[in-house]
Symmetry: none
Subunit: 191 residues, 4 copies
DNA sequence: AATGAATGAGCCTTCATTCAT
DNA sequence: AATGAATGAAGGCTCATTCAT
């Protein structure tokens, strides 16, 4: 059956996201992706150069979506850092709640050797954006006087910890919890 | 060549730890492990039932070492929670600094489907130990009044975040940093 | 290269029959089967679940062909036993002459532990059919009054003995010889 | 532990006979033989050149024992053929009854490619002895006037058929049955 | 003479990729 | 554009054999 152009491509991307998130890159077989996508094994190679190109595409799509969600829509560039921190935390958590599979995928494929230059560039972009905000806030003496990367590690680590706990069903990411944890993490990083 | 008894086994375990930590379970080939260990491919199967049994053995060994380091030697069972928190944080961080490869391995193989019952039981043991301390501290109104699992996620996540940052060379785990971060994380979880 | 549908499967079956008959199950390597079939080693696994499933398929195919040859075409169910004995002997011998490889295969794989339930069921079917004829003939006092299984063993053993001798080139299965041996074996089992 | 010289060798031969008879040559692992013999894997290579030399030794031992049983003790060289036929049949059957494992081994390893020249020579010796008796009997017009090999095939096949049936529990080789079947097979081959 | 850990060739099988249809 | 049979390199594992003790 012939489908709407790019439908095939999207089905493959969705299936790949799901399986890679669940079993990792090396643990996922290309024929399995094709089957899950409901697509012939050969079709995959018309849309992607190979398995590596496919993970990278999925990776970039997830990262871009996350980036768009956190920073793009009405991001208050000049607002006080505390306000931006609030938006960042709540939107990031919102993304995690709405896209648990994408979040699991990103966690599992962070800094892996099969990620190509484009994917790494995208990772760097995000990290640089965060780092800039933090440095600027430290200059304004809003944040604790420790290396910026330490603060980033604390915040990002806490977020990942919560997301993982939610994936294992030990925590539920309600609005109240997101707000509460924001306060706690803020307490860890403020001056 | 014959070696001193159990040397072979240890060499295999060391090589497996290294490669699994670097490339993951499915990304590591058994012949590569053997070659890294400087051992014939078949020797692996005299000491372990297979690749899966091998990861599990490595996993358990790492977990046990971590457990021993954090809780075993002179653990002050009755001391105030803040004291125990200090020990836990500094020892755990010390383990991470001394065994970065083991730490990376544990991070990568957390809750994977090829872990067997024994490995899972060991994971549970550690989680339960931590959870007990936290619950007890909450009962004494030392810790914030949020679900215990949330506090655990914040602390564990922060620790992992720092370790990962140190692995990427963005942070150096000096004694001062360990002490400083302990204070910050404590600020996030205390009442 | 792509072939006409199911050609690959048939080529594999033919090669497997040949090699299994010559070297036995454990003595035959899957890559050898593939090479003999003029097919990639992986193709075997698209058509059969594995080496064991393959022997079983070959086994069943041989048994079914033998069964069809001996009993199916115009088998005179009500005729006197001597007539049926004649048909059975001559057709079975005919099968052996026309399919010496299949016959060797069946001889070698009789009652082996890697045969599955379906294959065993087929073996039983044939044995039961033979046993029924014999019992009925004994009831009519045509056959000697010894356990039916003894008569079956004498006839089947004689047949196998002749087939094996013909395989070793010590005997040639001419029509005259088939007729002659039928008389001799009949002399052994008649009342 | 050190054993009586040649005890080790005998234990290995016994274990090899048992396993080879059960699983065939290629289906039997050398370490299994050693374990069954209660002997170190290396010891096997002090007594036999390798796996092939071992099967051949077992083969020859079985054949020699059979030969001794049938022809050696008080064989009446000049007696009428019917008498010799009686002795041959009953002694051969006796051997099968007393050494079912050896019999199964011989059946399974008949004419296999890993048998060496010595083993083949031994097979030929027996066949030649039988053939000589038969030819001589045919010259005296005691036996049917068909190629000697046909008669041999009928007798040997019947014997194998009965032995196999007894192994599968469908027949019991009592003295009465041996006598009865001797008469029937004789009926098949006599003039 | 006996042992059994060590070895590596070779086995069965999987899977990323190709290509005729 | 889509398919899926075919491929063969590579993976996990076994086992006949060796050799230091």
């Amino acid at each position: 059956v012939t489908r709407r152009p790019s439908d095939t491509r999207d089905r493959i991307l969705a299936a790949a996201l799901e399986l890679f998130a669940e079993r990792g890159f090396h643990g996922t077989a290309v024929p399995d992706i094709a089957r899950t996508a409901g697509v012939g094994a050969g079709s995959l190679y018309r849309h992607f150069e190979g398995k590596e190109a496919l993970v990278n595409e999925v990776f970039r799509q997830c990262k871009r979506e996350l980036l768009a969600r956190v920073f793009a829509e009405g991001w208050p560039e000049g607002a006080p850092f505390r306000v931006r921190f609030h938006l960042m935390w709540s939107r990031w958590m919102g993304f995690a709640r709405d896209n648990p599979v994408a979040m699991a995928f990103l966690e599992l494929h962070h800094h892996q050797p099969y990620l190509d230059d484009d994917s790494r560039a995208l990772e760097d972009t995000i990290e640089r954006m965060v780092a800039e905000h933090v440095s600027e806030a430290q200059a304004s003496q809003v944040l604790a006087d420790v290396p910026a990367d330490v603060l980033v590690a604390l915040v990002h680590g806490s977020l990942i910890g919560l997301v993982r706990a939610s994936r294992h069903g030990r925590v539920t990411l309600t609005d109240a919890l997101v707000a509460e944890t924001e306060e706690r993490v803020w307490a860890a990083v403020r001056r």
